[in-house]
């Protein structure tokens, strides 16, 4: 028996696999065995009601998708009243993703979702900060530190900071989030991107630009996760392009404690469960008793080309 459990940012997970915010909802319970997941992560909720962006809201691109869903939200009150109770009957930790457009707004919603039934709060600081010209909080270390400090004061629950890959200063932002009181980092949200329909010469998304996710981003986000692992002491949760157990293993090997699976679920509704099964198989086949031992086992050895090519003889 492989021990798949991990301690991750203030909570214990039965296994390191959970959904990425915005790619999961209770509807999935009718399709897969939700109780097998390491945690539930809800779609980001905002203080007030929001409709979201104009359609088309998604577009496929080679190896991935663009989205500009725009965080439609029923507002935090309806969320606390209706959504949180939906998950009460599962014995799986519930992580609530929140966002707001000012540091104070963030602290306020954080306080309001800190209710029984919630195991941790994921703060989507990849969203625009209207006090910084609409730049996302996590674009710069200073704004990251400031918002995290306010959030830290607003709750006793574990705080996971979800970073944006659009920054040019990932390690510094990671350090700022940790210094501001984050218990874990989620690396990362989607990468700003676009595509054009050459027949109509229009952007394929109603909002022109949107976030890229799926296999195309994996090598980029994996690199960022690795940079964050080296920059901070708190756990890093890898999130970007995980379609298979092999992808999840790459994240664990570079040092992530857990992973989130997003887009894959759209293509294969059972993707998260397949990833869990695959992690267990890998551990069994490689004599790894606890998956936690796999974290950060990236080998520093130089490539021994001789051995590699010899293998083919």
């Amino acid at each position: 028996m492989v021990d798949l459990s991990v301690d991750c940012g203030g909570i214990r997970l039965a296994n390191p696999v959970m959904p990425a915010s915005g790619t999961f909802a209770s509807e999935l319970a009718e399709i897969i065995a939700l109780k097998r997941l390491g945690a539930f992560v809800t779609k980001t909720v905002t203080p007030g009601k929001r409709q979201g962006n104009p359609t088309p809201r998604v577009s496929e691109v080679p190896g991935g998708m663009l989205n500009s869903i725009g965080i439609p939200s029923k507002g935090v009150d309806a969320f606390v009243a209706e959504t949180i109770p939906l998950y009460a009957n599962f014995d799986v930790p519930l992580v609530v993703s929140i966002s707001a457009d000012t540091p104070d707004g963030f602290a306020d919603i954080c306080r309001r979702v800190s209710v029984p039934g919630v195991a941790a709060v994921e703060v989507n600081i990849s969203c625009p900060n209207i006090e910084d010209d609409g730049r996302a909080f996590a674009m710069r270390p200073e704004t990251t530190l400031a918002v995290m400090r306010k959030l830290r004061q607003a709750t006793d629950l574990p705080l996971w900071a979800k970073l944006t890959p659009n920054t040019g200063e990932m390690p510094a932002v990671a350090e700022a989030a940790a210094a501001g009181g984050a218990d874990a980092l989620v690396v990362a949200n989607t990468i700003l991107a676009m595509s054009v329909d050459i027949r109509t010469r229009r952007a394929s998304l109603g909002r022109v630009m949107g976030g890229l996710s799926g296999p195309a981003v994996k090598p980029i986000i994996l690199r960022m996760a690795y940079q964050c692992v080296r920059a901070v002491d708190i756990p890093v949760i890898g999130c970007g392009g995980i379609m298979t157990a092999a992808d999840a293993l790459e994240y664990l090997i570079v040092g992530c404690r857990a992973v989130q699976v997003g887009t894959a679920t759209f293509v294969h509704p059972g993707a998260m469960l397949t990833v869990i099964d695959g992690l267990e198989d890998y551990c069994r086949q490689n004599g790894i008793e606890r998956i936690a031992d796999l974290t950060g086992t990236l080998s520093a050895e130089a490539h021994d080309a001789s051995l590699e090519w010899e293998a083919i003889a």
């Binding site: 790619t23 009718e30 399709i31 979201g52 359609t55 080679p62 759209f266």
Partner: protein, 282 residues
């Protein structure tokens, strides 16, 4: 505009909604129907063929050469044969995904996810119904014919197309027990005024107890006008691009009228079948 009083609908009764699942299905046939459309029939596992009219599947199209297509493709169920364990999809060869579907040979397998979404509701009182469809809309409404016939409803179908040759499935509709009328652009019979007149005539004959529409925005608006004027219950099956197909991603929203408000609803999980009068123009 005055709000019509409508008979309350009941969900389609006879069929048990199966749990949605993802599985590989063996292709039994995949043949051209006309220059644009193909009909694919697949063998599905136990129970999965118990889908409701109006439901759809998310189809994982084979990958063509490189990197596309990424998303699954939503396709209504065109024919439901629970005893034989068979389902069919009538699809138009349009872009990347359907082009790769068209290349599949019998014996190959294709990955399906479904059945998904909510099917059509029939009026409680055995009232006669009318179907109004164009293009892929016909695929969506086809299984409603036999389903309604079995539940004791008389069915009239108005099939719209660009030309008489492109009117699909007329025989299928007839065999399933519908009275069929066709309107086409080339004959000048498909204009909305004409279709509205036909619906009014049907109503006069006592054959418009409920109205179902799919496949054209213009036809949907016409159906709404008729429904509103005559106080006839109706449903519209809508389309929107989809990613997850099960209500998680919120990409497939369309605007609806809900009282005084305009709200977004997800076509995949709150539809694809919606109350006719709530659907807003696309």
């Amino acid at each position: 505009m005055q709000a019509a009083t409508l008979p309350t609908p009941a969900p389609t009764p006879s069929l048990v909604a199966p749990r949605a699942g993802e599985f590989d299905a063996r292709i039994l046939a995949n043949d051209p129907v006309n220059a644009e459309y193909r009909l694919m029939t697949v063998a599905v596992p136990d129970g999965s063929a118990n889908a409701r009219p109006g439901q759809f599947f998310q189809i994982l199209c084979p990958h063509s050469g490189a990197l596309q297509p990424f998303f699954r493709r939503p396709m209504s169920i065109y024919r439901i044969e629970p005893e034989a364990g068979r389902l069919s999809f009538l699809y138009k060869v349009t872009g990347t995904g359907t082009r790769t579907m068209a290349e599949l040979d019998p014996g190959a397998s294709i990955n399906l996810f479904g059945p998904l979404g909510n099917g059509f509701s029939l009026p409680k009182d055995g009232a006669p119904i009318a179907l109004l469809g164009r293009g892929v809309g016909l695929a969506t409404m086809a299984p409603l014919v036999s389903h309604a016939r079995e539940a004791g409803h008389a069915v009239t179908a108005i099939l719209s197309a660009r030309t008489p040759e492109l009117v699909m499935s007329k025989d299928e509709f007839l065999e399933a027990g519908a009275r069929v009328m066709t309107v086409t652009d080339s004959e000048g019979t498909s204009a909305v005024e004409n279709v509205e007149n036909m619906l009014h005539a049907l109503h006069g004959e006592g054959r418009l107890g409920a109205l179902y529409v799919c496949g054209s925005n213009r036809l949907m608006l016409a159906a709404q006008r008729v429904s509103r004027r005559l106080g006839v219950f109706g449903e519209a099956a809508l389309e929107q691009q989809m990613a997850c197909g099960v209500g998680m991603c919120f990409c497939c929203v369309r605007p609806f009228r809900q009282g005084d408000e305009i709200v977004h609803r997800r076509v995949c999980s709150e539809g694809p079948v919606f109350p006719l009068l709530e659907a807003l123009e696309w």
